[in-house]
Assembly symmetry: none
Homo-oligomer: 249 residues x 2
DNA sequence: TAGTTTTTGATTGATTATGATTGACTTTTG
DNA sequence: CAAAAGTCAATCATAATCAATCAAAAACTA
């Protein structure tokens, strides 16, 4: 196998899952650990990824520096599990709204081969969605640089055209008193409206979001089903009991 | 086997698989290793592929430098000059529509520091536009994977909300009889509508587009001003005479 | 046709990529 | 905290691939 071919595989895998273990790459490429290590070295050198203990991950945008390396990878793993569970709720023929944000982004690889229609305001999502041949619509409106999300009055109006079977939201805070909250009021409006346009409503939240309160509230706790790691585990246990195949990578 | 025939085979194989081993090409063409090596040398010289240890691969678009003195880079250079000229027509306070496509994409760096508003259906454009702090709106609608453009009825409807001072279009064909043409009817509709919503209308066309006719016509020649390399040169001469600083990198 | 240039294929030693191994280091586990 | 497991960078031998060279074959020229 040629070097650029392996690099391609590595980059694509990271793009899909945000992180990848070295052993996973060894399996996928058939190359030795040494070779993969060298590849990762090169790719890090050229700034295309970031090495972490045990593998590699997406290069983080400068803003969100991880305070502790270990915590981040655990966090990532939790996100991945939540995302996989969320995706398993999606059925063929569904029309979805998928919110901008990293947790919802992680869902996309698990939606592969599902016959669905997706509407999103997350510009980063589009690459992966269309790569998986998923019928994708993007909201029109103001492009927010920092979060790569589409927001604003136009987006809100544009959103009203659609009706969803399910919607999947990210959140910055989950709290008993203040419900689901997020920093940007503009993004909150989008979330709020999308929730109201959808039959089933899911909010994805890893443990770091609990008892956090952010600036703008976009829903009460009872307005949406919350998907957490604990729920995912219950789900898996159920599946193991009933002998249904678990939808995980 | 003739030389151009082998080159054809090589290029097609690379296009298909992104990378190709030398031995694979030896098998496919029946020529010797040495000959294939020489072919690869030539093709790399003319900028049509990138040699790697063990074979060859696609030339990366993003990371690779556009090296000087190649045929390909001449095309690039022409595009760049056209783009620079087009951007120089933009004034502070303008509201622009910028079409999806590589030539219009090249305009964006020259728009830096201009106080403008940009609407586009080109998803690739968004990164650069927002990076340069340009106020950017994206059309909403169906996301076309291949060209990374937003198209469809929704996009068309969304587009109607806006009014532009200037619009900049790409094209696949320019012909006296058939005007401006492009392969995808959906994209043509977008172009057509955007043209009608704009006070000034510009179509960017490098020399390879002349006397080409594509599937769908989106405008007559007299419906838009066409920006070509020849015009750019006149523009530069004028600027030199009048001692105005030329807007080039 | 004979002479010239171009293209091709085989051979060479040099260069590069690879996989296994090692001991050092890090993280997890009890 | 200490043992165990996992991961790391460094090193080395091997195998694959390379550029350079030269002679034979083919194409071209006069």
């Amino acid at each position: 196998m040629l070097t650029p071919e392996r690099h391609q595989i590595i980059l694509e895998t990271i793009k899909k899952h945000h992180t990848v273990k070295l052993k996973e790459l060894v399996k996928q490429t058939g190359a030795s650990e040494s070779t993969i290590r060298r590849d990762l070295d090169q790719l890090e050198q050229s700034g295309q990824l970031r090495r972490v203990h045990g593998g590699a991950s997406l290069k983080q945008s400068a803003s969100d520096e991880p305070s502790m390396g270990e915590k981040v990878s655990k966090h990532h793993e939790e996100k991945e599990l939540i995302a996989a569970h969320a995706a398993s709720l999606v059925e063929h023929g569904d029309c979805l709204f998928i919110d901008a944000g990293s947790t919802t982004y992680a869902m996309i690889p698990y939606l592969k081969d599902k016959d669905i229609i997706v509407v999103t305001n997350g510009l980063n999502h589009l690459d992966v969605l269309t790569e998986y041949q998923i019928v994708t619509y993007v909201l029109g409106g103001y492009v927010k640089h920092r979060t790569r999300a589409v927001i604003g009055a136009g987006a809100l109006q544009n959103l009203q055209q659609y009706r969803f079977d399910k919607c999947f939201m990210g959140t910055n805070g989950v709290s008993l008193e203040d419900g689901f909250t997020t920093p940007d009021p503009e993004e909150a409006s989008i979330k709020q409206t999308a929730l109201h346009l959808s039959k089933s409503r899911y909010v994805l939240a890893d443990s770091s979001k609990f008892e956090q309160v952010s600036f703008t509230k976009f829903a009460d706790l009872n307005e949406a089903e919350i998907i957490t790691e604990k729920q995912r585990r219950r789900f898996r246990e159920f599946q193991e009991k009933t002998n249904v195949k678990v939808v995980t990578p």
